[in-house]
């Protein structure tokens, strides 16, 4: 039974259709990526999933039941527009968020302290939020979304604005949550992150679903027509008849072969003119698949 299911969901604001007949489902324990450029309808879709806005048509199912607010105690949400009560002490804030999501004060306090120790902010737990650095505040926001140990974690652009240390920390935390069997959905316009982390994706563009399914299955649908070469010497082989498009970054070339291009012929031509350190036939990245699918008409 899917944890989340969207069936032909549509949402329009005035004349602009933000989400159009969107359908996908997320299986338990999956890490799911909702992909698309800025303004593609990711946030609108997420807001409908957690009842901040209602769809104009279509159905949303959470935990195998039509959407109802009581289900939200099983959901942890980190919005793109993150906020905290600046005048509140960190511990009070986490207890408040925990109790709102059904925990007792004692339990919320216990978990807040445990998380603070884990994320190395225990020393700041009695300080007011406004006294903390942005990085610290980001950690508090994660804890606040996860304190009630939700079965479903929804994060809208969770990596945007994070410093590298916190980005890694969040990534590790999400993987840990996944290992615990929780279902995770996160939206991003950074497709490289999705390739690394997600089992399944839904790729949307201008409110429409462009691609969906397991990452491996999607990528396997596309021919391995990309070649990465590391070399020194004559680069004239980049004008080969086998090549449709090539980018050379000082000895590292990324090549797309023609429809009938032959990688072996290209290797022979390259080896004849230059010293080859690496020659790899790779599958297209999600970004390339996306651009190929929507015909390069990306607003972002």
């Amino acid at each position: 039974m899917p944890v989340v299911e969207l069936a032909a969901v549509t949402k329009a604001y005035q004349d602009k259709v933000a989400v159009n007949q969107l359908s996908f489902s997320i299986e338990p324990g999956q890490m799911f990526g909702l992909l698309g450029p800025n303004g593609s309808g990711k946030t609108s879709s997420i807001r409908m999933m957690i009842g901040i806005t209602a769809p104009d048509s279509g159905a949303i199912t959470l935990f195998d039941k039509p959407f109802q607010r009581t289900s939200l105690t099983r959901v942890g949400y980190l919005p793109e527009e993150r906020g905290l009560y600046k005048k509140m002490k960190v511990l009070d804030q986490l207890i408040f968020m925990g109790t709102l999501r059904g925990l007792s004060t004692e339990e919320a306090q216990k978990r807040a302290i445990a998380w603070a120790k884990k994320l190395d902010i225990a020393q700041s737990i009695l300080k007011k939020t406004e006294e903390l650095s942005k990085g610290m505040q980001q950690k508090i926001q994660f804890i606040s979304a996860l304190i009630h140990e939700p079965e479903l974690i929804i994060m809208d652009e969770p990596f945007s604005g994070l410093d590298p240390v916190n980005a890694t920390l969040l990534q590790d935390t999400l993987l840990e949550m996944k290992d615990q069997g929780r279902t995770i959905l996160f939206s991003t316009h950074r497709m490289d992150q999705v390739e690394k982390l997600c089992d399944s994706i839904a790729l949307i563009h201008q409110g429409n679903l462009v691609l969906s399914g397991r990452v491996r299955e999607i990528k396997s649908r596309y021919k391995r027509d990309r070649v990465h070469i590391e070399f020194t010497g004559d680069e004239s082989f980049l004008g080969s008849a086998e090549i449709a498009e090539a980018r050379n970054y000082s000895g590292h070339a990324e090549i797309r072969l023609k429809e009938d291009g032959d990688a072996q012929k290209l290797l022979a031509e390259a080896a004849a003119k230059a010293t080859i350190y690496r020659f790899e036939l790779v599958e297209p990245s999600l970004e390339e698949i996306f651009i190929q699918t929507v015909g390069g008409k990306v607003d972002a």
Binding site: Q14, P79, E81, G83, K86, L100
Partner: protein, 419 residues
Amino acid sequence: MRNVLLIAKREYMEQVKGRTFLITTILLPAVFAGVFYLSFLSGKHSGTGKHIAIACSDPDLGAAIRTQILSDADAKATVDLFPAEMPGMLMDSDHAKLVQEVDDKSIDGFLWVDVPANGQIEATYDAQTAGDFVTAERLQSALNHALLRQRLARSGVAASAMDALLKTVKVNTRQVKNGTEVTSNAVSSFYSAYIMALLLTMTTMIYGLNVGRSVIQEKTSRIFEVMLSTVKASDMLTGKLIGIGAVGMTQILIWVGAGAAFAGSALGAEYLSGNLQIHISIFQVVLFAVYFLLGYTLNSALFAGLGATLETEQELQQYSPLAALPVWLSFSMILLISTNPNSKWVVAASLFPPCTPIVMFLRMGSQMPPLWQIGASIALMLVAIWAVLWFSTRLYRVGILMYGKRATLPELMRWLRYS
């Protein structure tokens, strides 16, 4: 309901622990007490301590006027009898000399009393200040009193009988309540009601604006989206209104408690007597709580909706005259309310929801309004609150997620439709 209470508790604790609460709790009554005591003192001391010269063509009358003024201990006046150049006659040179003295500020003013042979007395008070009507009143009273004594003496009334004849009588005020008469003090009753009306105005306005400010702060801190993933917008608004309203009630209770403790103390008994005596019934205290809650809910619902459409506290500040408008309207009618509390205009103003709390309390200073009017005013306020909440919750639901710019009127209309 659990979440509403959790939100209310958070709002309450944040505000009660804040420095603003502590400062306003102490400062506001102190400022009030100071302002009232000052206005009381200024009323008591207006027109006192004047240095006046009396120029009268009838020296006896002049002396009698002087005696009369000096007999008024409250006036604390210094009165000189002006020696005319030609005794028994006032000349232009006398007048010029007195004008020069006023101009030199050696005297505050002079009373010029010309008594011609035909008995058509003319009196003028020339002074440095144009608006000193209190001194003018005192001088007029002294002149007429002295003239009366003089005329009575000329009619053969013995000086010993004169005091008895001219003895004034003070009119005491009593109020008829439910067919029985009760002693009342018009001044203290008015001041008591005035203080309560002002307190009600300040608290409902301050806490109404606080709700608007709190909405904007949450909007600025982007906390709404996190909150809305857990609680409904209407629960958030309800919790906020309850929490901040409870802060207001706490503050009022502290003031009432402190006031009662002061009134019960020996010091309070000494100060709060006569015109400063407090006249507040239990019924008025109950009504105060009721009108505070209604006035606060009306204002805060209005400012919650407004706050959701704005981006900064400065923008909200621009709208604060909106909350002050009913206050100005109510206090502009204060004379009519205190002298004629049952006139149709006053009744209409007291039934107009934004003005109800203030006008009702000002009316109570003169006379307790009929119960049906109190009931009707509460019912009308509830209807107004319902209407304002209807609009505000709709604006709130959409507005709290709109960032970046102040909403235009067409956008607000769309928000109302979205909800």
